[in-house]
């Protein structure tokens, strides 16, 4: 019976020990120790940023004279009131060239034909939108009237991204 009492007492002390220690470890409890509040600043300076996905290349064949490619801008973070624009410029004014020969092609953006200017706008995204896209459609009749030599006829497009 004595042993049992010792065991029970030890168990009680072990379980209650932590709470007893809190009260006896010298914590100062005063009338001021009521609920406190304060502020800390958690911040992150989000810089203006985005990712643009441009079509790498387009290759026409006799069976593929009309090819669609997406242009996408994602993860957009802009300053309030600003706009992100994407313009396209063709190195050879929308002609695939090989030496002095060329084969013409044209571009439609979201099904609308675009003028063959030096640079024209194909996409605009306003601040607040997280993404934007356009469908670029490359079209040619592969007319070889001005293709002087056999070989690979190419053009290069530059996509210019501006934030205003």
């Amino acid at each position: 019976m004595k042993k049992l009492s010792v065991v029970i007492l030890t168990a009680v002390l072990l379980l209650a020990g932590p709470s007893l220690r809190l009260a006896s470890a010298g914590d100062i409890i005063t009338q001021d120790s009521g609920e406190k509040s304060g502020n800390i600043t958690v911040g992150y300076d989000a810089g203006v940023a985005y990712t643009v996905t441009i079509p790498a290349s387009v290759t026409f064949t006799d069976s593929e004279k009309r090819i669609e490619r997406p242009l996408q801008v994602n993860n957009i973070v802009l300053n309030e009131g600003s706009t992100l624009s994407v313009n396209i410029a063709s190195a050879n004014h929308f002609k695939m060239t090989h030496g002095e020969g060329y084969i013409e092609y044209s571009l439609l953006v979201n099904s609308n034909a675009v003028p063959k200017e030096d640079s024209f706008n194909v996409l605009k995204v306003a601040a607040g939108d997280k993404s934007g896209w356009a469908i670029l459609e490359f079209v040619t009749d592969l007319n070889t009237e001005y293709a002087t030599y056999a070989g690979s006829y190419t053009d290069t497009l530059t996509f210019t991204v501006t934030i205003n």
Partner: protein
């Protein structure tokens, strides 16, 4: 006597069953062979007969086809609106990087161009080598230091296919404000 004829009958049945199994195996084998055979018709008069050919396992799809699903993968390029460098110092901290999305497809190169007042002529301040997907360039050395001010600049990004020829693709110009302080 009756028992002897029973045994004989059983042997015949077993023999017939064995024949059936062998015939089945031969039929399956022939059907399998026929599936992999192309018969080239012989001359019209039938002289010479047909020639048996099998599909060449080395023949494969046209890998040069640029519009294949892999080649349709666009190039992903990360952009910013501005970049800050220290005045009168050629060393600069930047973050030019090739996103992971371009893995297996494209290397990127970066060129920092400083534009003049006319917006046409530019001076190249820095040109990188090929940057692999997932890799960053954090420190660069400019071709010259700059005075304090805000300049119109462009980060010209030229992707290259990850093939033997490293073929250049369409490219991107990111207009930025180059802040020198």
């Amino acid at each position: 006597m009756r028992r002897k004829s029973r045994v004989f009958l059983l042997l015949i049945i077993l023999f017939l069953l064995l024949l059936l199994v062998i015939a089945g195996i031969l039929a399956v084998h022939r059907a399998w062979c026929d599936r992999n055979r192309i018969e080239i018709p012989g001359p019209v008069d039938g002289a010479g007969g047909g020639v048996d050919l099998v599909i060449d396992p080395n023949a494969e799809e046209d890998s040069r086809h640029e519009n294949s699903a892999d080649a349709e993968q666009g190039v992903v390029i990360a952009g910013r609106e501005s970049m800050v460098v220290s005045a009168n110092k050629r060393e600069a901290a930047v973050d030019f990087f090739n996103p992971e999305e371009n893995a297996r497809f494209y290397y990127l190169t970066f060129e920092l161009r400083l534009y003049g007042g006319d917006g046409q002529d530019y001076e190249v301040l820095y040109t990188s080598g090929l940057v692999e997907p997932g890799k960053h360039i954090y420190r660069i050395t400019l071709s010259r230091s700059l005075e304090k001010g805000v300049y119109e600049a462009v980060i010209h990004v030229q992707p290259y296919r990850m093939n033997e020829e490293k073929t250049p693709t369409n490219n991107a110009d990111m207009k930025i404000r180059l802040i020198v302080n």
